[in-house]
C-alpha cells in the first residue's frame, strides 16, 4: 500500500490544521522539507511532539512552523507509520504543504481511507469503522436530525417488506417446482410481473430520495459560481464573516476551489468558492474551470454571482442553463450593488441584490439560502440514511428486477425466472446479512401445505 496524506482537520480556517500522513514513506515524504537533525530526532522519539519548520528546498523559504509527531507502525491509528504535522489552520498553507508532499510521491487519501487502513490492519472492526464514519459525518447532524432520524428503523421495515414480497413469489415458484402434483403455475407470471413492478417502484423511490440524503449526510454544499470578477470571493468572504476572510483574491488565478464551513442560522453548510467560468486563456486556468464544473455537479445549491453593473450576459445564461440541467436548486446573486446599477437589470431579473463590500442585502441572501436548503432538503422526502454498501446492494437488486422484467416478457419457462428473482432477493438480503435459501424454505413451509 502506498503512502497517503490528507488534511485531518475540518475544512475552513482554524487555529490549528493537521496534515496526517500514513504509510511506509511517511517519514521519507517530509525529508526534503525539514532538517536532517530533526528527522533523526523524530525517528528516535516516536509519540513525542517536536517543533519543526517546513521549508521549501529550492529557496529555503519557510512555509510554516509547527509541531510534528510520529507514530511508528503498528502503534498508530492506521497500524502503519503515521506522521502528523500540526500547522497553522490556514487552508492556503495546508493546501500548499499538502501539494509539496504530493510532489514526493505521496497520494491524496480517499475519503475514509485512513479508517479503512486501520480496519484492514486489524486495528478496529467493521462496526468500529462504521461508527468512526458516523462520528466524522456528525458535523451535519443538526441538519440530519430533522429529516432522517425519524425514519431510522422504518427503512429496515420497508426493505424487509419488499424482500418478503419477493421471497413469497420465489417460494410460490419453488413450491410449484418441488411439488409439481400439488401446486399449479397458472397466473404466476402475472402475479410476478405486478410484484416486480411494485417492488421496483419502491426501490426506485428509495434510491431517488437517497441523493438528497447524501447531500445531508455529506453536508450541504453551497457552490459559488460565476464569471471572473463577478465578485464570487467577496460573496464567499461576506458569508463567512469578515474575521474569517483569508482568501486569495486575484481574479482568474484561483486554481483550486476554496472551501469553508459556515453557520447560517442553525444550518452548517460548506461554502465553496470556485474558479471563474470563462473561456480559459491558459492550461492552468482551464484545469481550474474543469474543477468548477465538477463542483457544480456535486453542489447541493448553487449561488450564481453576476456583476450587477454588467448584467446577465450570454455566457452567464449558458452556465445557468447548465446548472438547471443538473437539477440543482440555485440562487441568482447580483453583486456590486455599491457600483453603478443598471436599473433595467434590477427591474427585469429575479434574484438577490447585494453588495458584498458594504454587506447590504447580505441578510436577505442568508435567509434565501436557508429557505432554499429547507425547501429542497429538509422537507419530509421519506428518504433514509443508507451507506454506500447498502446503496450498492439496493442498486443491484433494482437492476436484477429490471432484467427479470425482460425475462418475464420473453416467454421463458418458469424456472428461469428464479435466476433474476433470487439474485434480487440476495442483493436485498446482503443488506441485512440473511441467508436466502433458508428464507425461501421458511416461506414455503409457512405458507404452503406440502408433503408426501
Amino acid at each position: 500500500m502506498g503512502t497517503i496524506a490528507a488534511i485531518a482537520t475540518a475544512p475552513g480556517v482554524g487555529g490549528v490544521g493537521i496534515i496526517r500522513i500514513s504509510g511506509p514513506q511517511a517519514l521519507a515524504s517530509v525529508a526534503p522539507f525539514v532538517s536532517k537533525a530533526l528527522l533523526s530526532k523524530v525517528k528516535a522519539q516516536p509519540r513525542t511532539m517536536l517543533g519543526f519548520s517546513f521549508a521549501d528546498p529550492h529557496d529555503g523559504m519557510i512555509l510554516d512552523q509547527g509541531l510534528l509527531v510520529y507514530f511508528k507502525a503498528p502503534f498508530s491509528y492506521t497500524g502503519e507509520d503515521v506522521l502528523e504535522l500540526h500547522l497553522h489552520g490556514n487552508p492556503v498553507i495546508l493546501h500548499s504543504i499538502l501539494g509539496k508532499l504530493q510532489d514526493t510521491g505521496v497520494r491524496l487519501a480517499a475519503p475514509g481511507e485512513f479508517t479503512r487502513r486501520a480496519f484492514l490492519n486489524g486495528k478496529m472492526d467493521l462496526l468500529q469503522a462504521e461508527s468512526v464514519q458516523a462520528m466524522v459525518e456528525a458535523r451535519s447532524a443538526e441538519i440530519l436530525r430533522r429529516s432522517v432520524r425519524q425514519h431510522q428503523g422504518y427503512l429496515s421495515r420497508e426493505l424487509g417488506d419488499i424482500r418478503s414480497r419477493l421471497l413469497e413469489m420465489l417460494a410460490r415458484i419453488e413450491v410449484s417446482l418441488d411439488y409439481p402434483e400439488e401446486h399449479s403455475t397458472d397466473s404466476l407470471r402475472q402475479m410476478l410481473l405486478e410484484c416486480v413492478d411494485q417492488c421496483g417502484a419502491v426501490l426506485k423511490g428509495l434510491m431517488a430520495g437517497q441523493s438528497k440524503v447524501l447531500h445531508l449526510q455529506q453536508g450541504v454544499r453551497a457552490v459559488i459560481a460565476g464569471q471572473p470578477n463577478a465578485g464570487k470571493s467577496s460573496v464567499f468572504n461576506a458569508l463567512l464573516g469578515e474575521h474569517r476572510a483569508l482568501v486569495a483574491e486575484t481574479p482568474g488565478t484561483t486554481r483550486d476551489q476554496v472551501e469553508a464551513d459556515v453557520l447560517i442560522d442553525e444550518f452548517r453548510l460548506s461554502l465553496v468558492d470556485t474558479a471563474g467560468l470563462r473561456q480559459a486563456a491558459d492550461v492552468v486556468e482551464q484545469m481550474g474551470i474543469e474543477k468548477t464544473k465538477q463542483a457544480l455537479a456535486t453542489a447541493s445549491v448553487v449561488l450564481y454571482v453576476v456583476d450587477v453593473s454588467k448584467g446577465i450576459q450570454d455566457e452567464d445564461r449558458a452556465w445557468i442553463q447548465r446548472v438547471d440541467e443538473y437539477d440543482i436548486p440555485r440562487l441568482l446573486v447580483f453583486n456590486k450593488l455599491d457600483l453603478s446599477v443598471s436599473t433595467q437589470t434590477k427591474v427585469a431579473s429575479e434574484g438577490i441584490f447585494i453588495s458584498a463590500k458594504t454587506a447590504s442585502g447580505l441578510e436577505t441572501l442568508k435567509s434565501r439560502i436557508v429557505e432554499l436548503v429547507q425547501k429542497n432538503y429538509l422537507q419530509d422526502t421519506g428518504a433514509y440514511l443508507l451507506n454506500q454498501r447498502q446503496l450498492g446492494h439496493l442498486q443491484a437488486s433494482l437492476n436484477d428486477l429490471n432484467v427479470l422484467k425482460g425475462d418475464l416478457s420473453t416467454g421463458h419457462p418458469i424456472d428461469l425466472w428464479t435466476i433474476g428473482l433470487r439474485s434480487a432477493v440476495q442483493a436485498l438480503s446482503n443488506i441485512s446479512g440473511e441467508n436466502v435459501t433458508e428464507a425461501i424454505l421458511d416461506s414455503i413451509f409457512s405458507r404452503f401445505c406440502v408433503g408426501k
Binding site: L177, E181, T185, D415, I419, L441
Partner: protein, 624 residues
C-alpha cells in the same frame, strides 16, 4: 486374530446408504465388510415405494454418473416412470419412478451378496475399536459385534438410518424398533457418545398400508406414467416398465374432523415425541392443524409391487391410534371399505449432527469413521444413497492413500447437500429441493453425466463400458452442436414457408442454433419439420438445446459461480483458532469454532456469521 476378519472398509447398515457405500468400496478394489441386522431387509424401502421426483432425481442421475447403484436398480424395478416439470424449465425436469419395492429389495440383495470383494454378515455392532490421538481426537480401526467378534479395517462407514435408539409410535403406544417388526440398536448410540460424537433426536412418519382388494379404484382419478419413459441410468440397456398406474383421491371436511377429534391421542400433539419432524413431509395431523383453511388434501394411492396387495397412500403419514387412522381413511372417496395391512406410525431416532463431519464425510474428530444417510439427519432414499456413495468413495480413497473426492455446491446437487449438511445446524430431517441449489440451471439431470462421469472414472468406479459409452456420447453431442451451427437457413420462399409453420420468419441468413434461441422454437419442432436429424437420444438433445437456448441464463449462472468461488478458494486452516479473534462477534466466534468450516465460502453460509465477521476473517488470514 484370523486374517479373514481384517478388511479395508467396514460398512454398518445395509439400507440405501450402506448399499452404495459397500458397493463403491468393493468395486474400487477395497476388501469390504457389510454388517447388517438382517440380510433379508437389504435395500428395503421403508416408506414410499418411489425413487426420484424433483431434486431427488438429480441426485440419482448424479450417482449414476459417478458409478453408483440406485439409478440402475430403479430402472430395473420401475412400475411406472414419469418425467415431472417438463413445462417449467430444463433445470427442474425430474424423473420419478414408482418402484416395485419387493423387486428392488431382491435385486439389491442379489447385487450386494454377489459382489466380488464384499462380504456380508448378519450382526449387530456393539462398539468401535479405537485409539486416542493427539488432542481429543480418536482413530477408529474396527468394530466389535454383539457376539464378541472383532473386525478390523482402516475405515468404517456408519449407515444405520433410523435404528439408533429407534422408538416407534402408533397412537400413545410406543415400542423400541428401527422399522416396524425390526430391532433397534441402542449400543451404537452409546458407542458414538464414547467417541465424543454429539447426537440429536429426530422423528419421521409413515402412512398406513392399505389392502388393494378393499379399494374401489373406480372412484379415483387414474394417474399413469409416461408412455415412452426416460430412464435414470446410462447403463440400463432395456427398460421393461409395465406402467402400472397410481390413483388420486382427496380428504374432506369429514376426514379433518375425525383427525381433530383424535388429536389428543396423537403422540406429536401430546408431547410424547420430542424429536422434530420434517416440515416438508408433514403428518396428516400437521396438515389439518397447520393448514386449517385448506378444505382438502390430495392423497395418491400408490402400488408397492407388480402384483402385490399392499398399497401406499402417499400424503397420509400419521401416528394416530390405528382405529382413528382407519376411521379417517374411510372418509376418502374409494376408500369407504378400506382395510389396513398395517397402520401408520412415527419413528423417533438418534442422529449424528452432521456439522461434525468433514467435507469427505469423515468425522472431524474421529479419524477413520464416516457417517452417511439418515443417521446424518436427512430424509429420503436418494439423499441417503448419495451420501453413502460419497462416504464409501472417500473411505476407499483414504484407505488407498489417494486424494479425497470433494463435490462442491457448484458441481453437483450432491455437493450442495454435503455442504448444507456440514455448515447448517440440522433441526429437522434434511430433504433435497431444487431450490437448495443456487446454480441449478447448471446442475441438470440432462448434464449429470457430463458433469460427473470423469469424477467416477478417476476414483475407479466407472467401468470401461460406461466410460466408452460416455466418450461416444460426448463426441456425438459435439458433432450435433457443430451441425446446428453449420446449418444455415436462407430467407428463400421454401424455407420461409417451413418457418411459417413454426410461427417465425427471417430476413437474412441465420444459423440453425440462432433460430433455436427464439423462445417459441424447440429442438423437437425443428427435428419434426426436418430442419435437422434427431441424431441424439432425448435427454442429450435436451442438454444441447438448453445450452444453446438459454446460453444467456447459463452465462449469468456461470458468473454467479465465479463470484461464489472467490470465497470458496480461501481456505481456513484446520487448526485456526477463532476464540479471542479481535473483531469477531461472540456468536460468530462460537459457531465457527463449532462448525470449523473448510473455507471462507462455507463460513459465509453459517447462520450467525455475518459479512462483517467474514471481513475480519479475511483480514486475519492475510495477516497470517
Amino acid at each position: 486374530m484370523p486374517s479373514a476378519q481384517t478388511y479395508q472398509v467396514i460398512v454398518i447398515g445395509a439400507g440405501h446408504a450402506g448399499i452404495e457405500a459397500s458397493l463403491a468400496s468393493a468395486r474400487m478394489g477395497c476388501p469390504t465388510l457389510l454388517l447388517t441386522a438382517s440380510i433379508n431387509t437389504i435395500g428395503k424401502m421403508s416408506c414410499n415405494p418411489a425413487i426420484g421426483g424433483p431434486a431427488k432425481s438429480h441426485l440419482v442421475f448424479e450417482m449414476d454418473a459417478l458409478g453408483g447403484y440406485m439409478g440402475w436398480a430403479a430402472d430395473q424395478t420401475a412400475l411406472q416412470l414419469k418425467m415431472l416439470n417438463t413445462s417449467k424449465g430444463p433445470a427442474v425436469w425430474s424423473l420419478r419412478a414408482q418402484s416395485d419395492m419387493y423387486a428392488y429389495q431382491r435385486l439389491a440383495q442379489q447385487t450386494v451378496c454377489g459382489q466380488a470383494n464384499l462380504d456380508v454378515r448378519e450382526s449387530m455392532v456393539l462398539r468401535f475399536l479405537y485409539e486416542n490421538e493427539a488432542g481429543s481426537s480418536k482413530r477408529v480401526y474396527g468394530v466389535c459385534t454383539q457376539d464378541g467378534t472383532e473386525y478390523r479395517a482402516q475405515a468404517v462407514v456408519l449407515t444405520t438410518g433410523t435404528f439408533m435408539r429407534g422408538l416407534l409410535h402408533t397412537g400413545l403406544v410406543h415400542t423400541p424398533g428401527g422399522r416396524v417388526g425390526e430391532q433397534a440398536s441402542n449400543d451404537i448410540s452409546s458407542a458414538l457418545r464414547d467417541l465424543g460424537v454429539e447426537l440429536g433426536r429426530l422423528k419421521t412418519g409413515t402412512p398406513p398400508r392399505l389392502h388393494r382388494d378393499s379399494i374401489n379404484f373406480s372412484a379415483m382419478k387414474l394417474e399413469p406414467g409416461d408412455v415412452q419413459p426416460y430412464q435414470f441410468s446410462t447403463r440400463t440397456e432395456k427398460l421393461d416398465c409395465p406402467n402400472i398406474p397410481c390413483h388420486l383421491t382427496y380428504t374432506s371436511d369429514k376426514t379433518h374432523q375425525i383427525i381433530r377429534d383424535h388429536l389428543h391421542e396423537s403422540p406429536m400433539y401430546t408431547g410424547k415425541i420430542e424429536g422434530t419432524g420434517p416440515r416438508y413431509c408433514p403428518s396428516i395431523e400437521d396438515k389439518v392443524v397447520k393448514f386449517a383453511d385448506k378444505d382438502r388434501h390430495q392423497i395418491f394411492i400408490e402400488p408397492t409391487g407388480r402384483d402385490h396387495v399392499e398399497m401406499y397412500p402417499s400424503g397420509f403419514s400419521t401416528s394416530l391410534p390405528a382405529e382413528a387412522q382407519l376411521k379417517a381413511m374411510r372418509t376418502l372417496p374409494g376408500l369407504e371399505q378400506v382395510e389396513f395391512v398395517r397402520p401408520g406410525y412415527a419413528v423417533e431416532y438418534d442422529f449424528v449432527f452432521p456439522h461434525q463431519l468433514k467435507n469427505t464425510f469423515e468425522l472431524q474428530r474421529v479419524e477413520g469413521l464416516y457417517c452417511a444417510g439418515q443417521i446424518c439427519g436427512t430424509s429420503g432414499y436418494e439423499e441417503a444413497a448419495a451420501q453413502g456413495l460419497y462416504a464409501g468413495i472417500n473411505a476407499a480413497l483414504k484407505v488407498q492413500s489417494k486424494p479425497a473426492m470433494v463435490l462442491t455446491r457448484d458441481s453437483a446437487y450432491i455437493g450442495c447437500m454435503i455442504d448444507d449438511l456440514i455448515t447448517k445446524e440440522i433441526t429437522e430431517p434434511y430433504r433435497m429441493f431444487t431450490g437448495r441449489s443456487e446454480f441449478r440451471l447448471l446442475l441438470r439431470q440432462d448434464n449429470a453425466d457430463i458433469r460427473l462421469t470423469s469424477y467416477g472414472r478417476r476414483v475407479g468406479l466407472v467401468a470401461d463400458s460406461q466410460w466408452n459409452k460416455f466418450e461416444q456420447k460426448k463426441m456425438h453431442m459435439q458433432a450435433y452442436v457443430q451441425k446446428l451451427k453449420a446449418l444455415r437457413l436462407n430467407p428463400d420462399s421454401p424455407t420461409l414457408e417451413r418457418l411459417h409453420v413454426l410461427g417465425i420468419s427471417i430476413k437474412k441468413t441465420h444459423a440453425l442454433d440462432e433460430i433455436l434461441k427464439r423462445p417459441e422454437i424447440t429442438l423437437d419442432r425443428l427435428i419434426a419439420l426436418g430442419f435437422i436429424d434427431d441424431g441424439l437420444d432425448r435427454l442429450t438433445r435436451l442438454n444441447v438445446e438448453t445450452d444453446i437456448k438459454y446460453a444467456g441464463f447459463v452465462a449469468r449462472q456461470q458468473e454467479q459461480v465465479r463470484d461464489f468461488q472467490q470465497l470458496e478458494r480461501i481456505p481456513l486452516p484446520a487448526n485456526f483458532s477463532y476464540l479471542n479473534l479481535t473483531g469477531l462477534r461472540k456468536e460468530a466466534m462460537q459457531k465457527l469454532e463449532k462448525l470449523r468450516p473448510a473455507n471462507l465460502g462455507q463460513a459465509s453460509r453459517i447462520a450467525g456469521v455475518n459479512p462483517a465477521d467474514l471481513t475480519v476473517l479475511m483480514v486475519q488470514l492475510k495477516r497470517r
